[in-house]
Amino acid sequence: MGEFINTFIRAAFVENLVLAYFLGMCSYLAVSKTVKTAFGLGLAVIFVLFVTMPINWLINEYLLSENGVFGVDLVFLRLILFIAVIASMVQLVEMVVEKFSPALYNSLGIFLPLITVNCAILGGSLFMVAREYNFTESVAFGLGGGFGWFLAIIAIAAIREKIKYSNVPPALRGLGMAFILTGLMGIAFMSLMGIDPAAFSGS
């Protein structure tokens, strides 16, 4: 359990996917004009990361590695397989959500298909492989990373809604200001590095 919380906190705050690794920046900048849409996309990202991460972990461990089902090192197929899993999971999630909760489907709208090319999702899976997470950690990393992304996009959307009323130099309005705000937020999130993960893993 300590391991789980530890990875979750690291992924959500200290190693925030957007602010420390620039993952998912495109949709982060494009969809953060209002809080409402940012909220929808954030939820969708949490969900898809949470679903794809364990699946990709299982694939990597049992299909692609040398000790897997085929007994052959298939690591070179990793990129293609991961992206295929993500694309099909997004499609599947879209269909399930449409069937069982039309209200949620309508509010997520176009964001679901967009998630396929959100770097945060593929990046999460690749980080999981690079850091050799085990199953529990990869679930925690999926949840934590998604949550961190959600926090970041909500925060920037709220700031951007307010900053419309400020007197920003014309050439800096919109995109330029969004970049600088993101940088400032990144510094703010770094201050959470002071949290001692050992305190959680010890229990």
Binding site: F22, L23, C26, C119, F179, M190
Partner: protein, 237 residues
Amino acid sequence: MAENTVQDVQAKEPLFGKKERKLLTDPLDDNNPITVQVLGICSALAVTSLVLPSLVISIAVVFVCAFSSLITSLVRNAIPSQVRMIVQLVIIASLVTIVELTLKAFNYPVYKQLSVYIGLIITNCIVMGRLEAFAMANKPWRSFLDGVGNGLGYGAILLIVAVVREVFGKGSLFAGSPLEMKFIGATNEYMINTTTSDWFGWYSNNNLMVLPAAAMFVIGILIWIQRSRNPKLVDIS
């Protein structure tokens, strides 16, 4: 008259005419992928704290962008529109795998340094964005040029950010490559703040520049400069 010109164009479409040149140069400034189209900011910026990895990733992006455009454009009429995303992703993923394996074979230290970011070129929106916006509707040669141009425009921003960050953050340039420059002082450390240095002894390394946040600031300022020069690009919202 109109027919005439169309025929003329088809008869001797220049291999490298004005339009073609525009395809190459436009993305460098007025239609820059990062600062104007806002595509592909993802991931790759995280490697900009040093120049060498940024250079490698820029070359990789140019390669992937150019050849995925070329291949997509060649098969564009055979792709059913419902599954075009998957087809494009497979093309991009195969090219990125080629890049990854090549780098792994020839320059392992850099491969290690870049780790996941090579793989992340797949989801770099600029590649897919250009496929959707240009290669699906244009002839192979033009698409190829468009891919090269956008890759270059992307790489240019990456390199500017990397140079600023490395010089001010680490006091070196091209660290880790044969071209390595430590233009600060005579010590072995690539640090500006060595007291033995004659030139820049007064300067301490700016640790802010090493943080990821610095890349944001640098891009923000680049956008600022670009838009003050060219007010057409300013968004009204």
